[in-house]
């Protein structure tokens, strides 16, 4: 490889994506979008892991990414199931309407 493209580029992109996801989680009020932003964060980490693995020639990071994808899919499935069940009761998926607890 010519080595023009360094690991920095990948890490910068990954960290920016991570921050975008985090901002989304903090700013958005729609739970669906929050779940999406959480996925963005996990994906950013995945990119960083694969970049680390590629540049150090070690497979473990890629394997960890594989597991991270699995976990993310499971989390989304459960999250959406809860969301739908909650929507049937409350008719809203906005954080400000999820206020039964703590009153």
């Amino acid at each position: 490889m010519d080595g023009v493209l360094g690991i920095e580029e990948y890490l910068v992109v990954a960290s920016i994506l991570f921050c975008i996801g985090l901002l989304g989680v903090i700013l958005r009020r729609n739970v669906l979008l929050i779940l999406m932003c959480l996925e963005l964060m996990l994906n950013a980490v995945n990119l960083a892991l694969v970049a680390f693995a590629r540049y150090s020639g070690n497979m473990d990071g890629v394997i960890l990414t594989f597991f991270a994808i699995t976990v993310a899919a499971a989390e989304v499935a459960i999250g959406l199931a809860i969301l739908v069940a909650l929507y049937r009761r409350r008719k809203s998926i906005f954080l400000q309407d999820l206020n039964l607890l703590g009153r």
Partner: protein
């Protein structure tokens, strides 16, 4: 491909008999449920039998056949897990928690006509993955088993799917959990990346393994990336512990979750988090002690203050237990800090013993309290004002006594187990010369006595007679029922153990 053969041969499944049998038990429960005839209720009997049997088997095995308190810990599954005596103790502990949870939850499930087999299967699977979690010696294993625990709990918390409280709690738990797992993964990625591309010295061949990371971290303790990675990993774990900065979910989720699940969450999940944290800070991250002590101290102080001050104003007892759970996490964090920063002549074992004893007393008392709460719960068990318990001592003296002992132990009243637990933590913190933290802890305990006693007082003394309702009972709709015999026996046993442990704890400690 000889190395692959070596890898494959290192998988010794015999070491994980309890976990495997729990998992297969869960599968059995699910299969039986799937093949069940329509209309026939399936009870939790099989689950109790399975979990209780395993517990007995496991305890007996370690008490009589294979006691290995002094073994240094055996690495298995290519370094994925490490078995040691402390981990074995925790495995028994989780089995016990699973058994109690299944037992306590069953009446509520039956009453609400919720599927029972799935609940017990999930509880068993959560226990199995927590057992793996405390043994994990590799970040990949840690991540996977941590997430399995988390996913089990997402479902369990929102298990009362007819109740918006439970679902809302589940959703909040999930959002916080997913956020913390992303942060945890980010931390792992940073540690992995720096370790894998370490240029000084030989890069570890398996940069995710705790053992290999230990050397790397010790040599690079001033690297910013390592510190950032560590901080992220700890932040991710803080979610499990219910410690700052991820403590905000605790009161809501504790309140909304089904009561038995709240107990499980409060005791087992938190203990798993603490054991993992202990393993991490005394293992791979030990090289960062100068960095970890101030960081964790800050976290502990915020956690203790948040929990205790928040609990002061609560009138809903489930929320109160949530806040106080945060406070207990703070005390335990002090123990963790003592483990890192202890004086050289304090053995590490004694710190671990203090933490385990605290967890034990906390779990006994919590299960007692939550057990009573589960028995007394109205149809919507998220909605438990303190007034619900007024003059319980007159109506159900047994339950009131159990509750009082549990709360007293949580508060740390002298003859009870909780007092000894706090005392042991104080001692190790003192030995580690953490005077500032000690002061905060003492302050927290004093505050805690206030709110726990407000609750006990409510149960003992009848409410003030209201002026306008002379002949009308205030709680006409609610009359406490005596629990089933089995449940009563278990509650009595918990109470008895709490009292006895207050007197005879030293013989237990010697086995360490």
């Amino acid at each position: 491909m000889n190395d692959f053969k070596l890898y494959a041969e290192a998988n010794d499944w015999g070491l994980l008999v309890p976990e495997i049998s729990l998992a297969f038990g869960a599968l059995l429960l699910l299969c039986r449920e799937a093949l069940r005839k329509q209309g026939r209720e399936s009870g939790g009997g099989l689950a109790f039998l399975l979990q209780g049997g395993l517990l007995v088997y496991f305890v007996a095995r370690y008490l009589f056949f294979d006691p290995r308190p002094d073994s240094a810990g055996e690495s298995a599954f290519n370094g994925m897990i490490q078995q040691s005596f402390p981990a074995d103790v925790m495995r028994c502990f989780f089995l016990g928690c699973a058994f109690l949870t299944s037992l306590f939850a069953n009446p509520g499930l039956r009453e609400r006509r919720l599927p029972q087999a799935e609940f017990h299967a999930l509880v068993s699977l959560a226990a199995a993955s927590m057992m793996l979690l405390v043994q994990s010696n590799h970040f990949l294993m840690l991540f996977v088993s941590l997430e399995t625990v988390a996913v089990c709990f997402y479902v369990l918390v929102s298990y009362h799917r007819g109740s918006p409280y439970s679902l809302e709690a589940g959703l909040k738990y999930l959002v916080f959990g997913a956020l913390s797992s992303a942060i945890l993964l980010f931390g792992i990625a940073l540690l992995y990346g720096t370790a894998a591309s370490w240029s000084g010295g030989t890069a570890p061949s398996d940069p995710l393994s705790f053992t290999m990371l230990e050397q790397f971290v010790a040599a690079n303790s001033d690297s910013l990336a390592v510190r950032a990675g560590t901080a992220f990993v700890l932040a991710g774990l803080a979610f499990k512990l219910g410690a700052a900065p991820f403590q905000a979910w605790v009161p809501d989720v504790y309140q909304g979750a089904p009561t038995a699940v709240t107990a499980y969450l409060a005791v087992a999940s938190k203990s798993a988090g603490f054991v993992v944290l202990f393993n991490l800070v005394t293992g791979p991250l030990f090289g960062l002690r100068e960095f970890l002590i101030p960081l964790l101290s800050l976290v502990a102080i915020i956690t203790i203050l948040f929990g205790n001050l928040g609990a002061l104003t609560q009138t809903n007892v489930k929320r109160l237990m949530g806040f106080s759970g945060v406070a207990h996490a703070g005390y335990l964090l002090v123990g963790i800090i003592a483990a890192i920063g202890m004086h050289p002549d304090v053995p590490e074992k004694s710190v671990f013993w203090a933490i385990v004893f605290y967890l034990l007393s906390y779990s006994l008392a919590s299960y007692g309290v939550f057990g009573v709460m589960g028995v007394l719960a109205p149809t919507e068990d998220a909605d438990q004002p303190r007034s619900l318990y007024s003059s319980l001592a007159q109506k159900q003296p047994f339950l009131a006594f159990t509750l009082a002992v549990g709360l007293g132990s949580l508060a740390g009243i002298p003859p009870l187990a909780g007092f000894i637990g706090k005392l042991l933590l104080f001692v190790v913190a003192f030995q580690a010369e953490l005077y500032g933290l000690l002061a905060v802890m003492v302050m927290g305990v004093v505050i805690a006595i206030y709110y726990y006693f407000a609750w006990i007082r409510e149960t003992v003394f009848p409410p003030l007679p209201s002026l306008d309702s002379s002949d009308k009972e205030p709680q006409v709709l609610w009359s406490p029922q005596f629990p089933s015999l089995l449940l009563a026996c278990i509650l009595g046993l918990l109470t008895l153990t709490t009292i006895l442990l207050g007197f005879y704890q030293s013989s237990l400690g010697q086995s360490f």
